[in-house]
Structures are given as C-alpha cells and as structure tokens.
Amino acid sequence: MLILTCPHCGVAAEETEFAPGGQAHLQRHGPGSSDDAFEAYMFLRDNPRGVHFERWRHAYGCGKWFIAARCTVTLEVFATYPAQCLEPPPEAVAAIRARRPDWQPAGGDAASGKEPA
C-alpha cells in the first residue's frame, strides 16, 4: 500500500485514502478528431518500466485530483503536483532527474500533449 502526498492539502496518506485515475497528461480528443487520435486517447496507454505519471484523487481527504510521478519498478514516488498541469512541472522533472539522470520525457501524446504523428 503506497504512501502518497497530496500536493493540495499537504497530507501524506495511505493509498486507501486515494482513488486512482489512470495515466496522466492525456490529451482529450473530441468531435472532429481522427480515428487514430481518438483511439490513442481512449485506449492506448503507456506501460513503462520506470518513470510513470498517474492521476490520483484525494478521495477521502480534500477531494482534489493530482498527479504522481512514480517508478513502476521500485515504487518510489518522485513528486506529486496538482492536476492542473499540461505537463510535468520543472520541479517534478528535476526531482525525477535527480534520481533517474537518464530519464527523458516521453514523446507523443502522453507527456507533451501533442498529437501522435
């Protein structure tokens, strides 16, 4: 059971206080989008071995959504930051780089908000 720190209320709490919301930084594709773009938005998810960004809601706390940058192998949490971000903020990137110097932000949809080619 993970420990996560809610960036809104500052509480470090047990996983049972939070509700997971899947991969973060997805770009919504609505009417007018191509089938490929819509498929990517609806169904295609990264499954990295390593740094991953995921949405969490402090469901039994302040109720706010936030994003956790986490390692899927070691489970260490590099940073948490409010959901109102289109991409990982510089502090989060720095925290990740401090422990994963080789890490590069994913291209394409997941992290940059750009449509896949």
Partner: protein, 1007 residues
C-alpha cells in the same frame, strides 16, 4: 505407549501444571508450555498425519512454523479450524484436535493405497490422465478428485470468534524476537526510535538459548531476560509475543497477526486474533533461518526429523525424540544436536557425515563424548513403516553402490544446512543473491524493497541476512537496529559497551543435493523434497525431462512448495535437484517468489470486524423507520436499503406488488425516492458545463423547468440518466440514479478539476440533504391540495415544471415529473422533515386510498411505459441511440462527452441491437436475460443470437407478461415473432412490439 518425557529440564514447560486434551477423541495429558506436538511426542506418539497425495504416515519434521506434516483440525463446531500445525499450537486444558486426511483412522487409512500406486501417480499425473473422454472431466473426474483432494475439512457455519484490527505506526518494526531481533530493537530503542518488536512464538530468545549461545560469558537466556526488562520499561517500545509479521508490503506497510486467545480455552472476552496494520519507517527482519532436510531414500518416515528440531524438543520441552538416535548431516551445526541429546541422556548411535572429514570443534566434542562419527557416509535406506527402526548405510561420494552397514535406531535427525528466512525481504520485491559456499540465497542489500522516498526500507539482520554464526548475527543485528533508527531520524547514542555473543566455530558445510550422490532411480523415487505435497526427487527430474525449465512452472507442475508450508523446507533442495537436472547453476534457475503471508493467516483475522452489519455502512433514508414499522420487504440498492414492496399480512410479495401498482394507477401511491442522487451544479459556467456532460442541451433550460437528460462516458455508452431542474440563472439541480450519485459527483469533479479547470462551476452533492417523495396517481393533486399551502394546478405547475412553497407547513420543492406515466409530483423536503411530510401524506391520503409502494412496483410501471432503467437496459455497451433516445442526443452541440465515441463505425452500425417491446404470444412472462435465437451457430459451435430480454415483468395493468429487449434492427422488425431461449432446451415465442405498452399518447400524466 511409553513416555518420552525426560526426567529433567524443559525450559518452556511447567511440570506443576498438567493439561488434559483430546486427539481423535482419545484423552491425553501434557504440561503447560507444551505444544501439541511436544505433548504427543512426550506420550510416545510419533504418527501425526498423512501426506496429501500418497497418504503416507508422517511424524513431525520440525518444531516450529515450517512444519509440513503434523497438521490437525483444532476445536469443534463454530470454532473448528483445519490445518493447524501441532508444532506451533500451544497446549491448553480441554484442547480438542482431530487428525486429517485419513479414513477411517490415522493408524488405518484406506487412502494409503495411493502409496502403493505411487509409481503410477507421478508429477503431472492429473494433467495427463484426466483429459479423455472430454465429458468425463465435469461429471466423473472432477467430482471424484475434489472429494479426494484437500487436507483439512472446511469449517461449517459462521465463525463463533471475534477478530479485530489495530492500526499502528512506528519508526522501526522488528520481525523476530530472537537475540538478533532483540539486539536490533535495543539499538533502535536506545537511539530514541519508536519500536515494535514481534515474535511469532510464545517466548522470546529464538534459537540461541537452545543452541547454547553465550552472551558476555553467560547463557543467552540471561541476556534475553535483561534486555526484555530494559525494553519493556521504555515508553517508545512495544513488545508482542504470539505475533507473526505475516507480510511486508509497499512503502513500509506490514500486516501482522497476533494470536490473543488461541492458547486459552474458548469463550473468553478477548478477540481471538488481532490483525495489526503497521506503517513502519524501517522493517528489521530478524526472522532467523530454517534448517534444510536431506534428500535420502525414506527421509519422510515418522521418526526422521530435523536435527535442530530434536534439540528444540529436548531443551524446550524435555521430550526425547527417540531412545536411540542417529544424526545425518553435511555440516557442523548438527553435532550440537548430538551433544544436546547425549547430554540429556538420550542414546545417540552415530553421526553420519556426508563430508570426507569432520574435525572441527563440534565433531571433536562429539567424538570425545563417545559417539561414533562416520564420514563420507550416507543413508541408503530407512527401515520401518510407521516409525523408523533402522538405517542402511552407504558411501556418500562416488557412483553409489554397495551398502556399508546398518544401524538400528528409532529416530533420525537430519541436517542439510541452514536457509535464511528471507521471506519478508522478498515479499515486496527484495532480490536475492546466491552464496555458493553455503548453498543458500541471502538478501542482496543493493536490491531491496524501496519506500516512497526511494530508500530501502527492509533491513535483514542476523541469520536472516545470511550470518549463520551466532556471534556474527548478534553484531550484525545491533548494527541494523542502529541504522534503522538513524535512517528514521533518531541518532541518540547507545554509548554502552556492546555485548558479544560466542558459540563454537564451525567448518564449512558440504552442499548435498541428494544423498548418496550417485543414488539409483529406486532411491531417488523415495526421496521426499516436499513432504506435505508428496513431491520427490524423481518428480522434479521428470518435470525437467518434460521441458519445464522455469522454476515457477516446475513448481506448479509438480506442486513443489505449493502446500500450506509454502516450501519452507523444500525450496532449496528442490532448486538444487532442478538445477542439476537442467544442468544449470542454481542462480540461473532462480527461485520461486515468496509471497505473503509468512504462515497462514485466518480469514477471520483478515476480515476483522467487517462482517454482518459492519461489513459496509448502511444508508437509510429519512423515512427508513416508517418503512420498517410498516412491513417493508427490503431490497439493497448500493449501500441503501429501499422497500421492495409493503406486503400486508397474508399477502405474497407478488400480490403486494400487484396491489401497489393497481392502487397507484387507480388512486394514489407514495414512493420514497430519497435515494435519488441530487447534485447542485452552480456557477457562471454551469450551463456550459452541463452541455458537455449531458447528451442533450441543458444551457437553454429555463429556471422553473425540468429536463430529462442522459450522460455518456467518452466511449459513447450510456452511463446515467435523470431529471435536471434549473433552479436559477447559475444553478442546476441534477438528479442521478440511486446508485450513481457518488460516481457522477466524482465524474463531474474529474472534468472540472482536470480538463476545464478554468470554468467557474462548483458541484455539491446534496443527496442526503433532501428527502424526496413521489406522490403518484390520478388522485395525487387532490391529496396535495388537501395538505394545503400551494397551487399545484396544471396551469400553476405544468408537466416538467417545478415550484417552491410550503406543504403542510413544511418547506418543499415540487417537481412535476413522472416515471410511471401517471400524474406525479416529486416533493423534496429538508431531510429532517421528510418523515413528518411522509406521515402527513399518509394521514391526509387515507380518504383517497393512499398506499406506499416499493421499487418493484416502480420498475413494473416504468416498464409498462417503456422507460429505460440504467443497469437493466444498459450494461456499459449500450448507446442512447440503441435505446431509441435519439431525441435526447443533441445534433446541434459541437461537443459533449461521448459525442466522438458515438460516431465510431461500430456504434453507428444499423445491425446493432436496439430497444423494442416484447410480448409473448400466450401472455407468459419471458425469463429475464433470455436470448433471442437466430439461425446457425458461431465459430465456437454456439447457437447464434439476435437479441436479449433486458426487463421482463408480469403487468397487472395489462394482465400479461411484458418485456423490453434489445434486438438486431429491432425497430424495423415490428410484428415479427422471435424464439427466446427459455432454458432447458425450451423456447418461448415473443412478438416485437412498441416499447410503450400503456398510454402511448401520454395522456395520464398530463392532467
């Protein structure tokens, strides 16, 4: 039977206090402090179980939690528990134990015939044998195998005991109360850390007092007592006996199970067990090591046990495992058992050592005690059936062959070296490293489980870290404790002279895979690796020959390590045999994954108090008590309870539902609709927001008006529905389904926080702030007028409007909406006044023939009108267009959630199943969920289908069965008759009709 109790000694027993107990109905006696196993051994009883597959007679192998054989059912009736290990079951007055896996008795067991057939029952036998003919599996093989399988009997009925949870937080959790654990705890506690120490046994000190370890020149027990006194006096330390740390989980979370009353007669005040849910900064695993058996032919005979278990029985419980014992070993430590036995007056016939020479301090001491030591010697065979009577010997090294002698004996102590108990380290992903010289896996400190901050949070200590010599283990543990404290921010200085432990030095062991090295097939077929599951050396070799290269596959194919002991004894020996058969070194073959729990935890402990009424919270509407008093038959709806119907004395449920429907259609009915979700959406952008959430337009709704709306997920599938009322320019009240309120609230928050965070809207869940009462039927308006206070005429409150006012002097909001097709008013009142309003309506309604109605009447009436129900007509794959709700899906809005999803090819396919009404040709009721049959069959040989029934009821209003269903191109096929599968090979014909069965013009609600 004769007594094996020694005249003196026994550090754990109290000879002044006897305990009477029963095994298979037979009365027996032991001492306080005995385990069930020690008491049985003391009374001369070695036979304690039957193995799983071959039903071979078995005695205890161990003296602790690794025991695979001596399993009993404990207790009776609602307190019965199967598969309790006799070696860890503390004796108490009145204990009742029942032997397992035997019939008719443990001594005479019919299932033992399996042993004679064992040559025909190798690994994988079931997979190969029970395949053909196909139909036999379900009706013959599986029922027979199921009856024969399993060890203990499942307890019948509800558990009579109580269990509880405890949440605990600490800096350092120490698992294990041996000298390593206590030393680590002492170091951490002196530094100021909050420490919890847990020991699975009923006593502190672990192995050291038994092994004769001396600390600062005195017996280990003295240091243990002094250290416990020091720790017990510290406010930052909690000490718990009978508490196993069962699992280590993410980020320093640990589960531990404390046995509070298992050692006492049943019926006390305390809970039976307590599940500790611990969050620890650091976890020190001082879990010790487990001795390995040796794989020689006949090593499972009762009387063959671990050498260390023998000195446990002698030292702790003053029980002689036999009268003439042989020790078989590959290491020096087993010589301690020989000395211990001899010192207690037990005859030791010889020590057989696989090594070519044994000249260390311990072997020398054994020789000096007059005991014969035979090097390069192995066991060729064990004689005796229900108990060892002797050994036949041969050379260990070389290609096998001639026997070199025989020894008569009634017990054999075997030792294949020690395996660190790395389970807790591994639970959360800690990696292992192979130490070839000692043939063991040890924790790899560079690859430990990490906490949220990235630091390794498990610190193995002592022999669990691979330091098998007491002196090293003791020093290491103190260092681990100090490190755990310092890493959790406690740097108080110990500043006391560190004690030192001493034990005899040991020469290195000789890794022994099987004994003798060159054993023949017949011998290998009688060498047990996993005692409980009957896995032998030849089974693992067979798996390797059949292509099982992965250790995880071999484990499942052979069931090696899959018994209730989870391979605590068999793991390393099995791996060695597999690696040899595959001709790969052990580290390449790897090890199976240790998973929680360390030893079995009862389901009762895991459930804790969460059973019966406390399983989950019960939500009650403001009128709950009235319903209860008036005979409501309850139905669970999410966490709510809603009245299904209000049957009168002598009425069946069906009769009650029929009466409620007729009365509502002809007079007036009252429904408690308080469970409907009520979400207030407010803000300058509220209209814009709801236009995105609902498929239809909401922004244009006028204050004072209501609109039925649909919500889809982004896939375009219908998710929830309900009536939206516009309260004022910036406020909407969104009604959701009863079960959907929390989910839809969360859904709205998600979009507001994560997608449109610049929109000025907020959402409040008001579900429990309002009671809601539907007043339904042709006399509804008359009734409300009688209550007085509001003009509810059609002119003042037209259909799909709402007004605020007071009824019976209670502030209300009245919505003129209908889910039944009748004239209907839904009245919302503050929750605290809901019961009063309900009672006023019942009183005033008497003259109009008012009756309350329940959810079943609600369902039937809505089906009569063809109204859909989320969860009946929808299942997460149905779009609004499938349900003929095109009118509620905006074509003008540029965007709404689900719009893009609905545009996908598969969702616009004209072949999709669509909503229709269904009428059986004879008026019968279609089975709920029945499939409409089509011609031919699919690729799997299953009959093709073309639709299904989603709702089906007997309509009292129409006097016949009615159903809603989804049928391929349904609306284009009006009048067509389809065959529905009614089960049992029968079909029922039903005609496709309009889904509105009653009052198609909608005149009844518009009066």
């Amino acid at each position: 039977m004769t007594s094996h109790r020694l005249p003196e000694g026994g550090r754990l027993i109290d000879r002044s206090q006897t305990c009477g107990f029963r095994v298979d109905g037979r009365p027996m006696l032991g001492f306080a402090g005995d385990t069930l196993a020690s008491a049985l051994l003391a009374s001369g009883r070695m036979l304690m179980g039957r193995s799983f597959k071959y039903h071979r007679p078995r005695g205890p192998v161990a003296a602790g939690p690794e025991e695979p054989n001596a399993l009993f059912g404990l207790g009776i009736g609602p307190r019965f528990e199967p598969n309790r290990r006799a070696t860890t079951t503390e004796l108490f007055e009145g204990l009742v134990a029942t032997s397992q896996n035997r019939w008719p008795s443990l001594e005479r067991d019919v299932g033992a015939v399996n042993d004679w057939l064992s040559r025909f029952l190798p690994a994988g036998f079931y997979y190969k044998m029970f395949i053909y003919p196909r139909a036999f599996w379900k009706h013959v093989y599986e029922p027979v195998i199921r009856r024969a399988a399993g060890l203990g009997r499942v307890p019948q009925g509800a558990d009579a005991d109580r269990y509880e949870y405890l949440y605990a937080f600490c800096d350092v959790l120490v698992a294990g109360g041996g000298i390593a654990g206590l030393s680590a705890a002492q170091a951490a506690a002196r530094a100021g850390a909050r420490v919890i120490v847990m020991e699975q046994a009923a006593h502190w000190g672990g192995r050291a007092p038994v092994d004769g370890v001396r600390i600062d020149g005195a017996p280990a027990d003295d240091w243990v007592a002094a250290t416990l006194a020091e720790l017990a006096a510290m406010p930052n330390v909690r000490l718990r006996l009978r508490s196993q740390v069962a699992g280590v989980h993410d980020h320093g979370y640990a589960l531990a199970c404390e046995r509070l009353t298992d050692h006492l007669p049943a019926g006390g005040e305390l809970p039976r067990q307590r599940l500790w849910r611990i969050r620890a900064g650091r976890i020190v695993t001082a879990t010790g090591a487990i001795e390995r058996p040796l794989a020689f032919a006949g090593n499972d005979r009762p009387g063959v046990m671990l050498a260390s278990a023998m000195r446990d029985y002698v030292t702790n419980w003053a029980v002689a495992p036999g009268r003439r014992v042989v020790i078989v070993t590959n290491n020096d430590d087993a010589y301690r058992s020989a000395l211990c036995l001899a010192g207690a007056g037990v005859g030791v016939a010889a020590v057989l050592d696989a090594r070519p020479s044994a000249d260390g301090a311990l072997p020398q001491a054994v020789r000096a005690a007059g005991i014969a030591v035979k090097t390069d010697t192995a066991v060729a065979a064990v004689e005796g059936r229900r108990q060892v009577t002797g050994l036949r010997l041969c050379r260990h090294s070389g290609a096998g062959g001639a026997e070199t002698g025989a020894i008569a004996c009634d017990a054999v102590g075997m030792s294949g070296g020690w395996t660190p108990a790395v389970h807790l380290w591994s639970h959360c992903g800690g990696k292992l490293a192979w130490k070839a010289d000692a043939a063991m896996f040890v924790p790899d400190p560079a690859a430990g489980p990490r906490g949220h901050d990235g630091a390794v949070f498990v610190l193995p200590a002592g022999s669990a870290a691979g330091l098998l010599h007491a002196a090293d283990a003791f020093d290491d543990a103190a260092a681990a404790g100090a490190r755990a404290a310092s890493e959790t921010g406690h740097s108080g200085s110990a500043a006391l002279p560190a004690p030192t432990a001493a034990a005899e030095s040991e020469d290195p062991p000789l890794p022994v895979r099987i004994m003798p090295e060159g054993a023949a097939y017949a011998q290998r077929a009688r060498m047990w690796l996993d005692f409980q599951n009957d896995v032998k050396v030849t089974d693992v070799e067979l798996a390797a020959r059949e292509g099982y290269r992965s250790v995880e596959h071999t484990k499942r194919y052979t069931t090696l390590g899959m018994a209730t002991d989870q391979g605590k004894l068999s793991n390393i020996n099995g791996l060695s045999v597999l690696s040899d058969a595959l001709n790969e070194p052990v580290p390449q073959v790897g090890t199976t994954t240790f998973r929680p729990p360390w030893t079995p935890v009862t389901l009762g402990a895991l459930a804790g108090e969460a059973r019966g009424p406390l399983f989950q919270p019960l939500r009650r509407t403001p009128m709950h008590d009235w319903h209860s008093l008036h005979g409501a038959h309850w139905e669970p709806v999410g966490q709510w309870r809603r009245p299904y119907a209000f049957p009168r004395p002598g009425e069946t449920l069906e009769q009650a539902v029929t009466r409620e429907i007729r009365n509502t259609r002809q007079a007036v009915g009252l429904l408690d609709a308080s469970t409907l979700g009520k979400l207030l959406v407010r803000g300058p952008d509220a209209g814009r927001f709801l236009d995105m959430l609902y498929t239809n337009a909401m922004a244009g709704l006028k204050p004072g008006r209501c609109r039925y709306g649909l919500m889809c997920n982004e896939n375009g599938f219908l998710m929830d529905d309900g009536v939206v009322a516009r309260l004022d320019d910036q406020s909407f009240l969104c009604h959701t389904t009863s079960g959907g309120a929390d989910h839809i609230h969360g859904w709205m928050e998600d979009w507001l926080q994560c997608e449109w965070w610049d929109w000025k809207v907020h959402v409040v869940n008001l579900t429990e702030q309002f009671a809601q009462i539907a007043v339904v039927g042709p006399r509804a308006r008359q009734l409300l007028e009688r209550l007085g206070g509001m003009d509810l005429s059609d002119a003042a409150l037209p259909f799909m409007g709402w007004v605020e006012g007071r009824l019976a002097d209670i502030p209300v909001r009245v919505f003129r909406i209908s889910f039944s097709g009748e004239l209907s008013f839904e009245i919302a009142a503050p929750a605290g006044q809901g019961a009063a309003l309900w009672e006023r309506l019942i009183e005033a309604g008497a003259e109009f023939g008012i009756m309350p109605y329940g959810t079943e009447a609600l369902h039937v009436m809505r089906a009569e009108k063809g109204f859909i129900m989320i969860g009946d007509e929808t299942d997460g794959t149905v779009t609004p267009l499938d349900l003929g709700l095109d009118w509620a899906v905006s074509r003008k809005k540029a965007d709404f959630l689900g719009k893009r999803g609905m545009e996908r090819v598969a969702l616009t396919d004209p072949e999709r199943w669509k909503l229709v009404g269904l009428e059986t040709t004879d008026g019968a009721v279609l089975p709920h969920g029945a499939l409409a049959l089509a011609g031919g069959s699919n690729a799997n040989g299953q009959r093709n289908t073309q639709g299904r029934v989603t709702s089906s009821y007997r309509s009292p209003t129409l006097g016949r069965g009615i159903a809603l269903g989804l049928v391929r191109r349904g609306p284009e096929r009006m009048g067509e008759v389809l065959d529905f599968d009614a089960g049992g090979g029968k079909t029922m014909p039903a005609r496709i009709v309009d889904p509105v069965f009653y009052d198609k013009a909608g005149e009844r609600q518009n009066v």
